[in-house]
Chain length 191, copies 2
Amino acid sequence: MSSPSSALALQRVALEQFSLVGFGGASLGSIAQAAGLSKSSVLYHYASKEALLAAAIEPAIDALAQVVESYPYGGDRAEHDRFVERFIDFLLEHRLAVHLFVNQGQVLGTIPAVQRANDLMHRFSETVAERMPSIEDRIRFGVAIGGAAYILVAAANWSDEGEPTPAEAADARAALIDTVASLLRHPEPAH
Amino acid sequence: MSSPSSALALQRVALEQFSLVGFGGASLGSIAQAAGLSKSSVLYHYASKEALLAAAIEPAIDALAQVVESYPYGGDRAEHDRFVERFIDFLLEHRLAVHLFVNQGQVLGTIPAVQRANDLMHRFSETVAERMPSIEDRIRFGVAIGGAAYILVAAANWSDEGEPTPAEAADARAALIDTVASLLRHPEPAH
DNA sequence: AGTCTAACTGTCCGATCGGTCAGGACAACA
DNA sequence: TGTTGTCCTGACCGATCGGACAGTTAGACT
């Protein structure tokens, strides 16, 4: 706690590496090098590789818990849309962590922090599924979650432009909110 | 080529491991063990770990090239919907490979086969973007691709039921086609 | 019988892995 | 001037990594 800046920078670097090449693919050496430290120094701050992962994703898990808790069970559509907005902002702020436990959640299930994230997503899915129990709506839910999580980290891959102008970022946020909201919205009873 | 069954089984096992724990996280030893072979035997069939990866995803890349090629540039909506159907079937058949080069495409860009997959996705994005150049529609495109690729491999994580009944699978396919089609459909000019 | 080849394996190698440990640098406090 | 505690490091450990290589088995062909 005494020099939080270096510790936070280390968590950020570790998160980037873990989400980029996977937990097993990222080495403590490469993380340390990217952070400008020695491997020993990393292990001084965090007892193990798993502890580093847990510390790196913990803020995101706390935020996720808060978002899931705020689901408007009996709310109207405006309230539901506000919930989606909170959810998207959570995704935007914790892109890397979300990408990590979305894509490696099952294989890292032994790590308590990841397990907690899995439980949260499970509960989230169940909560939403209570309102939309059909396969179609489960698909829409999954596409919304996975698609949003994906586009925030990997989309830059095969798009032309490099930098995301602040104005463009705002547009992207609005578009993402719109898209996810339409996916999570209760569809008309049937056609 | 003389005993294709074992070679194909090896590719399938390798693909599962690569998409599950990442290319760097999967070891030749674990792949060999899962396939019931020795590590040496794996390296007899494929010159290197990268060669194994390339061979494992090559069929998926070929199929992707075919799908991208079949994009209906001047087609009507029915033709466009048929294209989406082909695309979803491609995703369903090559789930693991898609998940692999969607989530690890950038970091594995040095491998020629992955590079080809990246180029194809890039061209795919450009092709679709020609019709839908706005940020909103790019987002919708990304959510559709990423969401579909995601739900096919990771959704089982936080859903209750275990097995996907054949009838449920058909329903899921239909729902996925419907969802992606609506995302990729040209939206009304503006509201 | 001998020959050839495909499929497979165990052994070995250098490099790298996660992790331990003893100690150095340095500011704060006595 | 010690002394203490934080931050950081290089050296080292056993295990595992990707890969090279020599050799074995078994079936097909002559």
